[in-house]
């Protein structure tokens, strides 16, 4: 599949009077395929927005290469095919929804009232055409933002925290809209903190921390490695020691002993071993690895300065 976004060693540095040269984004190798929803994750200050701004040609990379829809970043021809919804966007407050669309449409030379109307219907704002932006709720502002981002029928959408600060209903509405973009064959690049949201809608993700990509790949591959929690009792200590050697975490509980076993370690053999040792199996609970777990285990070592061993460098294409 063709790449919607491709970067090679893309770097952005700033000079600071006190700290010298700071790499906000360092040697970024990013690969986003056409037609997918790509989640770009990272803690605050990780370099997410800087990366998006570089891809949009709003700021200039210090070094490296970047291509959006096959063209070099900054190419004005690409701007006709992409759109951007910034985090907590502001729209001219005196304008109504249709006026906002007319304004953004005019930047493309589009003046098609029927199209504006259909976009307003799509984001469910067609009944609020006389309200000004100052009268819009946060959710409505985000929806008019999505409507303006669709004005040019883009192939690639950059959405920066699209559900940030919204209530659950608005979350759901925005999520459904984003999913519908993929159904239409558009590529969506989402920068977000809402990990549960990203897990629900994204095909692939990249995790960036302190300007460096720590993990990148398909969610299904990155989230491999869940664990099975097996609660047992009346198990001899010799078996517990044996299980510890085989990567199981053993913890005492009030009602027994918890064996926390990696998914790939064949839990059935653990259950068989317990039974053979005349122990009782009380419960077996599979714990799927969540994006939040991956995020924390990826970010934590670098953030706490414990990079030794390189255990978090999990680069999967």
């Amino acid at each position: 599949m063709a790449a919607a976004i491709e970067t090679k060693k893309l770097t952005k540095s700033y000079k600071s009077r006190t700290a010298g040269k700071i790499n906000v984004v360092e040697a970024l190798d990013l690969h986003v395929e056409e037609g997918e929803i790509f989640g770009f994750l990272g803690p605050n200050g990780a370099g997410k927005t800087t990366t998006i701004k570089m891809l949009l040609g709003i700021i200039y990379p210090t070094s490296g290469e970047g291509y959006v829809l096959g063209k070099e970043i900054g190419d004005m021809a690409v701007h006709r095919l992409i759109s951007y919804l910034p985090e907590r966007p502001y729209y001219y407050e005196h304008m109504t929804g249709p006026e906002i669309l007319k304004f953004y449409g005019s930047l493309f030379g589009i003046n098609d009232p029927a199209r504006f109307q259909s976009l307003l219907e799509r984001v469910n704002l067609h009944r609020d055409t006389t309200k000004t932006i100052s009268q819009y709720s946060k959710g409505m502002q985000q929806r008019i933002g999505l409507a303006q981002s669709l004005i040019n029928d883009p192939k690639l959408l950059f959405l920066d925290e699209p559900t940030g600060g919204l209530d659950p209903i608005a979350h759901r509405e925005i999520r459904d809209l984003i999913l519908s973009f993929r159904d239409e064959g558009r590529t969506v690049f989402i920068s977000s903190h809402e990990l549960s949201e990203v897990e629900l809608i994204c095909d692939r993700v990249a995790i960036i921390n302190k300007g460096v990509i720590e993990a990148q790949g398909k969610l299904t591959e990155l989230l491999k490695g869940g664990r099975i929690e097996i609660t047992v009792d009346s198990v001899p200590e010799s078996l517990l020691s044996d299980l510890r050697i085989h990567d199981a975490n053993v913890r005492n509980l009030p009602n027994g002993i918890l064996l926390d076993v990696p998914e790939e370690a064949d839990p059935n053999s653990v259950i068989d071993a317990v039974r053979n040792a005349k122990g009782n199996v009380i419960s077996v609970v599979p714990r799927r690895k969540r994006l939040e777990d991956l995020f924390v285990e990826t970010i934590k070592p670098r953030s706490s300065g414990m990079m030794e061993g390189g255990t978090v460098q999990e680069k999967t294409q």
Binding site: L56, Y60, M76, H79, P89, M95, Y104, S106
Partner: protein, 264 residues
């Protein structure tokens, strides 16, 4: 051209709704209505006082509006992230800057137009016995020249807004406006006086070249005193307006060069 006009249009819409600008304008208008009453405090004729005070109010009010309107223009767009949604569209940075400038000038034009209407209205009320079209046309030359002056000031503030903070810009633009209005005639005299020492003459010439000559747009003396104070008036207006337009284009080009490489 379409993006420039669209950006200019929204800039006008925003500007005419900014409370701080409307308050400044309102204060100016209130003073203009009060102006006819000041004639009794002066030994000069009432018409002279009226013209002098009202043109002064228009100049001062418009200068404050021009600076307040433009110093926040670009920084506000960055802070509110509107600039990102615009520059991610097929809009070049120069189009954005020129659109913002034209919007600011159009908003200034609207506000100065309103003040000019009040000026003419109050003038006609005062000239109960001696109303004529020629006098009104003559009087309107004042606000028109001020409009060019304010367009130049707005270009200066937009240029500075591409690389300094709004507060610094406020004092910088305001300071240069003051220098160009008050001290420019002084440097011109220094330059033209044959007794000026060579070094002082060169310094005055340099200052006159660099510093925008805001003073030449103040034609109050011509409008107030009877008889022509400017020889070949048409040529003067063409030259002065031409100078302003050239300076504005120069400032906008310089602003575009800075803004084009600016990290927003």
């Amino acid at each position: 051209m379409r993006p420039i006009l669209a950006i200019a249009g929204t800039t006008v819409g925003e500007a005419i709704r900014r409370k701080v600008l409307l308050i400044i304008l309102l204060i100016g208008l209130v003073f203009m209505f009060v102006a006819p009453g000041l004639g009794v405090l002066s030994t000069r004729s009432e018409t002279t006082v009226l013209k002098s005070v009202m043109l002064g109010i228009i100049q001062l009010t418009a200068a404050v509006i021009a600076i307040v309107l433009t110093v926040y223009m670009i920084p506000n767009e960055v802070e509110r992230r509107t600039i990102y949604t615009i520059l991610s569209k097929p809009v070049q940075r120069w189009q954005f800057l020129v659109g913002k400038y034209l919007g600011a000038v159009a908003a200034l034009g609207l506000m100065m137009g309103l003040m000019s209407i009040v000026l003419v209205g109050v003038f006609l009320v005062q000239q109960e016995q001696n109303r004529n079209v020629t006098a009104v046309t003559e009087l309107l030359k004042g606000p028109i020249m001020y409009f060019v002056q304010m367009s130049l000031l707005a270009a200066l503030a937009i240029f500075f807004s591409t690389f300094v903070s709004p507060l610094v810009n406020f004092f910088l633009s305001g300071g240069i406006y003051l220098l160009g209005t008050v001290f420019n005639p002084f440097f011109t005299t220094m330059q033209e006086n044959p007794n000026t020492p060579w070094i002082a003459n060169k310094f005055a010439t340099l200052v006159n070249i660099i510093l925008p000559n805001f003073a030449s747009y103040n034609i109050q003396n011509t409008l107030i005193n009877s008889g022509p104070a400017i020889q070949n008036e048409s040529l003067y207006y063409i030259q002065t307006i031409g100078y302003g337009v050239a300076y504005i284009i120069g400032l906008l080009i310089a602003g575009i060069v800075v803004f084009d490489r600016k990290e927003v």
